[in-house]
Amino acid sequence: MNKKIYLDNASTTPVDEKVLKAMEPYFNEKYGNPSSIHSFGQEARVGIDDARQKVADFLNCEAEEIIFTGSATEANNIFILGVLNSYEDSHVITSPIEHDAVLETVKESGADFTVLPVDKNGFVSLEDLEEAINEKTVLVSIMYANNEIGAIQEIKKMGELISKKNKDRERKIRFHTDAAQAAGYLNCDVDSLNVDGLTLSGHKIYGPKGIGALYKNSSVDIDPIIFGGGQEMGIRSGTYNTPLIVGMGKAVELIEKEREKEKTEKLRDYLIDQVLKLKGTSLNGPRKRRLSNNANFSFEGAEGESIVLMFDQEGVAVSTGSACSSNNLEASHVLRAIGLKDLEAHSSLRVSLGRNTTKKDIDFFLELLPKIITSLRKISGR
């Protein structure tokens, strides 16, 4: 087989060598429980404090405002349920293209909710947001950049709108954004974004899996949903997972240094231009205000899972929002929300670039693509 090419970085990224190195000592050298006062515990504690500071620096907030969690999903749950549970009779606003970790949590919360519409590119409008706010509203959760179609929301403007509304409200509205996909490419200064809550994921930014972080503004009181030893300011009990926390800190620290936004964007634009030359092809999601590493297409007459498997045969990893490849046999809720017809969602393909993606990789993908699509069109007769 040819060399393997990984174009599924929105799904997960490899752990950076430097991250791995930073984590290593915390498995069996500095293995103390950070809650212990002896030297074993304290040297582990240093690793955690240091990681927390790195994340705080990246987000431009206080270290005490960072809560390490077991995943981005958990961070979303903790913030959303934490805010909603501390009110009776509450209302929350979200979008239809959120990750399930937000959508399902909102639905399960028992609170009233409004799912705002999105346009064909996946954008939420400020007017719709403003209109949806009512006197019961306590939370707005809108994702920073979408994992499937890359749409970047106007988080800063939404944050401004919400703070303005809050001026003459007794019941404050908290604004949360899931930045799991955005963190690698977009400004995450919580102060300038005007957000009260922000979610990060380790494994989307070349850190380890099994770790997330939640920024929670110190003015926001939330009820914990996990009880125990009171770690993480009482909000997320459970023994500190030192190696993963250290890995998360290192991964966040490396973001700015390793960020090659322009390079990635140039490669991605080249990819889109070339792919669209193929007949019967369309781009899903916006052309502008799109996450630098994301591309998503539909190919008439070919089904997504089949496309993915044919690429896999050639050593190339990509993904699809086709119903055939999901467990519940439903097409991606994101693609449906932006108005794709079943058949278009059925034929979708997401290509997500990463730090290690080269022009050669993209060219190899482009060389295979017409062959694969043609052969599937032959099989489908369409």
């Binding site: 045969q313 119903a323 055939c324 058949l343 099989i379 489908s380 007769g381």
Partner: protein
């Protein structure tokens, strides 16, 4: 490594020998999968109540393509009544294994053949 698609199923997906169309088919069956949006057309050529030739066109996942190909392979040369007895389990067994969620695709192949036979009988 345990794969969700067996090697044999992958072979039928990557190189489906029975794909295509029969221009002067005696029966054509068109079916779709309401659950995931797949489309399948089955063409049969019949002589003396026997399926002489069978072809398919499928827009769908690897399992749908592989089972389409397999049902053609299995049905060709069989009496119609015997071909209709091919069960979904027969298809899966012959292909090795398919991912759990994909069993309904094998169902589709069976329905496609049935529709083609019905079309043939209605024209008789």
């Amino acid at each position: 490594m345990k794969k969700s698609y067996s090697d044999k199923a992958m072979k039928h997906f990557l190189n489906p020998e029975n794909m295509g169309e029969i221009e002067d088919a005696d029966g054509v069956g068109e079916v779709g999968n309401p659950r995931c949006g797949d489309l399948m057309t089955i063409y049969i050529k019949v002589k003396d109540d026997t399926i002489k030739e069978m072809r398919f066109k499928t827009l769908g996942c690897a399992a749908a393509i592989a089972t389409s190909d397999m049902i053609c392979e299995m049905a060709q040369g069989k009496k119609i009544e015997d071909a209709l007895k091919i069960t979904f389990q027969d298809l899966v067994d012959n292909l090795g294994s398919l991912p759990q969620t994909k069993v309904h695709c094998a169902d589709l192949a069976q329905k496609g053949l049935k529709a083609a036979v019905e079309d043939y009988e209605s024209k008789k």
